[in-house]
Each structure stands twice: as C-alpha cells, then as structure tokens.
Symmetry: C2
Subunit: 524 residues, 2 copies
Amino acid sequence: MAKDPKPRRPRAETPKGFRDYFGPDVTERKEMLDRIAAVYHLHGFDALETSGIETVEALGKFLPDVDRPNAGVFAWQEEAVPGGGSGDWLALRYDLTAPLARVAAQYRNDLPAPYRRYAMGPVWRNEKPGPGRYRQFYQCDADTVGAASVAADAEIIAMLADALEAAGIARGDYLVRVNNRKVLDGILEQMGNSPWFDYSPHGPQVGGTIHSSMKEHDNALFSREDVLRTVDKFDKIGEAGVRELLTTGRKDASGAIIPGLGLKDRQVDPLITFLRSRGSTNTETLNNLRAAVGSSSIGIEGVDELAQIAALLDAGGMGADRVVIDPSVVRGLGYYTGPVFEAELTFEILDDKGRKRQFGSVAGGGRYDDLVERFTGQKVPATGVSIGVDRLLAALREKGLAGAQAQGPVVVTVMDRERMGDYHAMAAELRAAGIRAEVYLGNPKNFGNQLKYADKRAAPVAIIQGTDEAARGVVQVKDLILGAKIAAQASVEEWKSQPAQVEVPRADLVATVREMLARETGAQ
Amino acid sequence: MAKDPKPRRPRAETPKGFRDYFGPDVTERKEMLDRIAAVYHLHGFDALETSGIETVEALGKFLPDVDRPNAGVFAWQEEAVPGGGSGDWLALRYDLTAPLARVAAQYRNDLPAPYRRYAMGPVWRNEKPGPGRYRQFYQCDADTVGAASVAADAEIIAMLADALEAAGIARGDYLVRVNNRKVLDGILEQMGNSPWFDYSPHGPQVGGTIHSSMKEHDNALFSREDVLRTVDKFDKIGEAGVRELLTTGRKDASGAIIPGLGLKDRQVDPLITFLRSRGSTNTETLNNLRAAVGSSSIGIEGVDELAQIAALLDAGGMGADRVVIDPSVVRGLGYYTGPVFEAELTFEILDDKGRKRQFGSVAGGGRYDDLVERFTGQKVPATGVSIGVDRLLAALREKGLAGAQAQGPVVVTVMDRERMGDYHAMAAELRAAGIRAEVYLGNPKNFGNQLKYADKRAAPVAIIQGTDEAARGVVQVKDLILGAKIAAQASVEEWKSQPAQVEVPRADLVATVREMLARETGAQ
C-alpha cells in the first residue's frame, strides 16, 4: 500500500432522479407561476409557504413498527436528545396538501374561516427514478378550507380556467371537465350494490398510486375500484367492452381472457346510462344523470351539486367553451369525496412515435372533507386544485410560448487590458438604459475566444474598442444575430447594404445598440 | 388494556426550528428577490436552480468513518440496492455555493467561461434551533466562476450596490466596504511571521462557524485566526487594547486577564498602521496600505488589486457614497482568498434594549479560488456575493418599505343563499376590473360572522345585497376602512358628510368600489 494514498476525488454528479435547471428553465417556470399566483391573489387567496420538512407524525404516512419508514418519502431520524429518548422522525413533504392540513389544524383559531390559500414550491418523492420521473418537482395548489358549500368548488373551477388563460393557454385550447363522486356512488347503489362508504380522506398520492383508506361494507358485491377501473376503459373498449368486463368477462386484443365481475346485464344498465349521459349542454347532461341515479339519495345529492356548480359558473360568465359537466371524468373519483374536476389541453401534439394525440391533463382537483380531522377529530370541509407545473410548462413550450432561445447580454469585449475601466463604463451605461450587458471577464488575449464566448451566451451585440478606436473616440458595434444570418445565407449585396458591424462615435454607443436590438426584435 | 385502543391523534406542529410564512411574509420576500434577480439578470447573470438534495460526496462535508454523519446538515442513507451494496448518502444543501461547485465541475465543457450565475432558494442547517435561528432559510447568491481578473470582483461589488437600491435601500443608507485578504497576509509578513499560507477553499460555513482548512507552517509565530480575532476588537478596545492583546495581555472590564500573544511592540506596529489606514478617500487609504505592507510581495499584490477595483468602480460611476476601500473589514478574511466585501446598512435602529445601533451587515462575499478543484484537480478562480435575505427583508420593514398590513379582498357578503350566482357574478365583475374580490363562503346565516370574517381578511370594502336591494336593482357598498375610523374617532358631522356605506345602482358596483379604494389608498 502506498504510504500517503491520494484521496479519491468526489464525483460531480446530480444525484440520481434529480435535475439542474439552467437559465430559461428557471425563469420561464417562475413567470408562469407568477401569472398563476396573480390570478389566485385576485380571487382572494393568500400565499402560504411552509418549510420543506415536516414531522413524520404530521405527514401521517408511517407505521410505528417500521424501523426506517422511508418508502415513498425521504425521511430520517433526528439525533437523540441527551436523556430525552430517541429523536423525532422528520421527512421532506411529498405534496402541499399534507402541510396545509397541519397548518389548518395548528392555526385553526387564528386563520380566517373559510381559509383560502395558495402554495407553490418543490415537493420530494423517494421513488425509483425513471425517464421523465424526477424525485423533486414543483406543485402549484390552491385550496379552500372550511367551506362546505359547492360555491367553493365552483370558485376553484372558474379560477383554474382563469389561471390557465393567464399562463398563456388560449380559450379553446383547454377544457375543465367536472364530475361528482356522489353521482357515481348513486349509480353503484342503482346497480344493486349498497356498500357503506367511508369517504376517503385526502390521503397522499405517493408514487402515482392513490392511497385510499376507503372501507366498504363486507357484503359489497364489488368494489368501487373495480368499477372505476372498468369505466376508465370506456373510451377505448366502448359500451360492449365495459358490459363484458362487468358481466361475463372479455377477451383482449392479445387473446387473453379478462374475467368479468359477474354482474347481471340489468345491473350494468345504470352504469351504461351514466357513461352515455354527456349531452350537448350541461342541462341535457344533468337530466341524463338524474335519470341514471334514479331514486338513490346520494346520487340525487350529487346531481344537485353539479347543477348548482353549473348555475354558479354560468352566473360568473364561464361558458361551455371553458367548463363542462362531464361524467367521463373518473380520475380521482376514488380519492375525493364530492365534486372532482380535471383540466385538459385539447390541442394535438405528436407523441414519441410521431402519432397525433391530445396533450391531455394538466390540472385536477376536487373536494376532500377530512383534511383536518386526523389532527383535531373534527371534520373540516375542503376543496382544492393542483396544477401540474412541469406538464403546463411543457404545454407552453409546445405552443411556442416558452422555450425560445433566451437572448443573452450585450458583450463588451476587451481589446486592451489596461482599459478595463472604459469597458466597465460602457456596460454600466448600457445597463442604465435597461440593456442587459456585461464585460468579457475571461483572459482577453485571444479575441476569437471572446467572440466564441459571446456566441455561447447568445449575445445579440458585441462592443469592440481597441487602442486605435479609443484614440479616435469611436466604438465598433457588431450585430451578432445579423452577422450569423449573413454568414449563413446572405449575398454580398445584402452584406453591403446592411453591414453587421458599424463604427459610431463613443457617445452614440447606447443609441446604436438600442436601435440594433429593436431591429432584431422586430425582425424575429 | 382496552380492546380497541383509540390511536393518539398526531400533533399539528411546525417541526422545531422551522417556521410557516403567511401571506405578505411570502409575497414581500418574493418581490424583494424579484427585484434583486432583475439586477443580476441585467448584469448578464443567468439563473441556476439545483435541487435541494445533493449527494454527501458532492457536498464534501463528511468523514467516511462516521456512521451517521449528519452534524450540521440533514443527511440520510438511501436504501441499499439489492445486490449492489449499501445505498448512497444524500443530504439537503446547506448553502448555494457547494451545489455551484458541483455544477461548475459537472458541466465545465458546456457552460460559458466565465460562468455568471445567480441562485435563490432555501437551504437547510441541522442546528439546534434558537430564537430567530431557523433550520431552513433563504439564500440569494451571485457568483462568477472562471474569471481570475479582479474586474469580476469589481463587477459583483457594483452589482451588490445596485441590488440593494433595487430592493429599496436608499443611497446613503448602505455602504459596501472592500478589503483584501492578501493585504492582511502582507501585514502578517511584515510582523515577522512568514507562515506558508495554503489559501482556504470555500468550505461550508455551517452553524455560523467558519470551517477553514487553512494550514499554516509549523514555525508560524501565531496563527492568522489569533490576529483576526484581535483585529475584530479594534472598534471596541482601540489601538492600546489591540496592542496589549498582541503583546503582554490585557485585563478586561470584568477584571479577568486575557493572555497576550507575546509579540514585541515593533512587530505590532505594521498591524496598527493597517488598522489606522482608512483615509478620507480611496487614494489616501491605498497609500496608507502601501506603507503598511512595506516590501511584502503578497501585500503589494493585495494593494494593487484594491487599487484596480477602486479604479473600475470609479469608471462605472460608483462613488464613495456607495462603495469604499476599508481595511477594517475582517469578516471572511480567514475564509476568502483575495478581495472581500461586506454591505452594511448605516441607518440606526433600536435594539432589544431600546438602544440605538446601526442596522449592520446584510450581505457579503469575496474571492475563493479553489471552488472546483475538489472535483477536477484544476484550480478555477471564482468570486461571489450572498445576500442575507431575512436580514434585508427585516431592514425593509424597519424602513416601512414592507410589512404593512396587506389589503385584503373586497368581500361580497351572502344575504340570500339562493342567490349565490348573483354574488359570484359581482365578484367576477370586480376581478375583471382588476379588483381583488371574493364571495363569502362560510355559513351565511349569521351576518355578523360575515363582517367579522371581512375584518379578519383586512377587507377594504364589503358588498351587501339582500332580497329587497335585489328587487330594487341596487347594492350596498360598505367602506370598511372608513367605517373602522368612524367607529374609532369621527364625530357625527364627519359621519354624515362622508358616510361609510352607500347604496348605488347595481350597474355602478365596480365604479363605486374603484372610487372607494382610490379614496382609501389616497388617504393612507
């Protein structure tokens, strides 16, 4: 063994499942969130920022008998307090709803009731990383705690539509679709199943799996989940396929037999009526739903709530081009306790295989009435929305509303190391005029490197002043964007008529750069 | 034991050492950071956002032989990979510089060189919580990696002054003071000490303690830290006190004897000259420093660098009212490798005991040239600044520039549950006019509760429309701010001349509210 082994150098690597965001990745997301926050604020919602860390006890995801309970979350145990037994378990938050539950319980005597709050920030999931699956990502939520009225749901639904437009999604490119868990429960009742439903609390949605604590009566003929799974396939396999899955079973495309749930055809009828109930207007849809739920009181309650929401949205001027009642929304139906909604982007994109498909869901939410109960024992009604920040930003990029090559700063090059003060003065003047500018700070010896740097920075303009120019009181102003175009395509005549580099008096520096930037912006 | 013990309810508590930020706490910090980011951007700095989690290896804070190496940081071990040995150690970042070092090494072939970046976000410290000491807080940094020239330091110093003004600190209320570690090293040489200085890398500043890996020659007469500690007391104990501490020792106010370092008087002279070198102009200060460092080549280099910085700041129009060369800056001198600087707020505040004192430091930075070396083996010059986000926000509050009671939304009250649609339409109209507005969403039965709610929300205006008003096509618009004033102080005459509640046609709702808000804003 060597006497003084050189320590191995650490690896410079982003930890697995995480990513680094550079420049526009950061600023475009921030701008989008700022526009959404402005809409939330306008609706009377207040900002809330909790820390990234919660006690495991408050998050409520862990079993006391698990030694290292970090499945799904990043968790660790604090060091033992001397003489005070073992340390607390802490964890990184996995969503923004669990911290809201803790805050709503902790400050229940101080917060206004109802409490409208929005929150934006990173959350962490201790999952196996995969392509496009990151272990830290942003969430952007708005919730109303303490309002039992469906007016609170209607408000959040309308606010979501406004927020999408504020973010840059044009009317006609999105649709918020609204359903109600109670309607499906009514349908299940009509199907001859009378499970005793213990509405699920707003449990964490970890790892893409919905953790529902719903318990059904032991005598239930089938579980809600079974039915939801089938309903979710309606678009693909149609009425006949759904009927097969619920009754005798179905042979899929590969020839495999999927066993049926063993229901009778007449039991399936209410569900089919439900699946076919979307009409050309909300009124028509609601009439169809009313027929489907028949005499089920929970079903009737659900339809009544949807009717109220439709009326409120109508009163707020929210047309069918923005929000519709749509019974085909099933995502979250096993999770929420009342109204549920989902925002879909309706424009088409090409998938990985070059096939056209709708962009799809970017936001969703609904009512969950057991938020604070874990802490206080009292039921507190709540409803909220969560926007998929990365999905929505990807949509803006698809639409050309983000992701453009960001323009870099004007680069003041350094021809003469002794005259750095002059170059700094030029940059300061440009900035005072609101123009992003910097002095080249690398080794100035090789001028080619300075232009390569300007290129890497996507600089629109470079400033050049050597000893000769300084003596004559002039500067060279080089239009790098035009220069690149000319190098790529222009004829000699074009080059002469619109030279990419001009010599101007030093006093005209700012005006010349401003003109050049305006020309480039106009030409783009 | 009970047969079915009821599980204990979880405690709804912010974890110890963390805090929750409500409403203006969030938005005021965000606005301040937005204004600072705009300055950074204007100077050509690009945003960078790394995740909160890094590998312990990349953070470089841990010894391999420590089993649970989480002193100072929050760290945990990933679950073992089946068949792949033990899992990686991960940790929450404790500052924004360590992740920058990792990024600069990892992407060194892709990033522009020099790389200017800014970063803002939470960092975590696993410290014992105390009053005003939190385990998560914001940092706001700007750094230039890969620029050896002091022009990079000058740029960051000037940018810091601009950023403070953009945040709201008036010129004259702050001063950026600049020093250079190399000057002090020259002084130490002149004092007869010639330690071999291994300039400290930019080690983490955890728990308020500076972890310097500086090694000094075994034959050194005294350590730099000894001298820095003494210099730091110059303001309080004066020349005679410093001289005592460096020579024979000193009796403090309590009568306790502090042993001296055992230097001879003539050895102390250069340090005293250094401490007294701040002149009325930068030129004077630089001349004094040049005299103090004598023939020390490192000292001369340090003074030359300061002279260059002074010239560059001058060329950029940065006057002595904003930035000065000041040898009394010692904070960070043991930490950085070249120029150091500190921004102080010079206005007075009252401390806990009601005594006047200067607000003090809100930002600092300097040059650290060993950032990337840990990873690549190559020295990469770097310089940067970190703004104390909480301190600066506290300063803005002192100045009345933040922290005012935020105005709540206009509250549309609910007199008639059946007419929620009408109330929603009112709120939607107000919002369409850019006025923050909401409908009361609690149980509307008790109208007093609605007004209490409006009060808790700091609502400026309440809208009231009962069945009677609806039938007559009017609404009541209640000025809650004026109402509160009248209740507190106004005479009957004033009340009559400027009634706090007016009845207006429904069509005039928006115009009336807008007028009322303008009146209140004007009156404030």
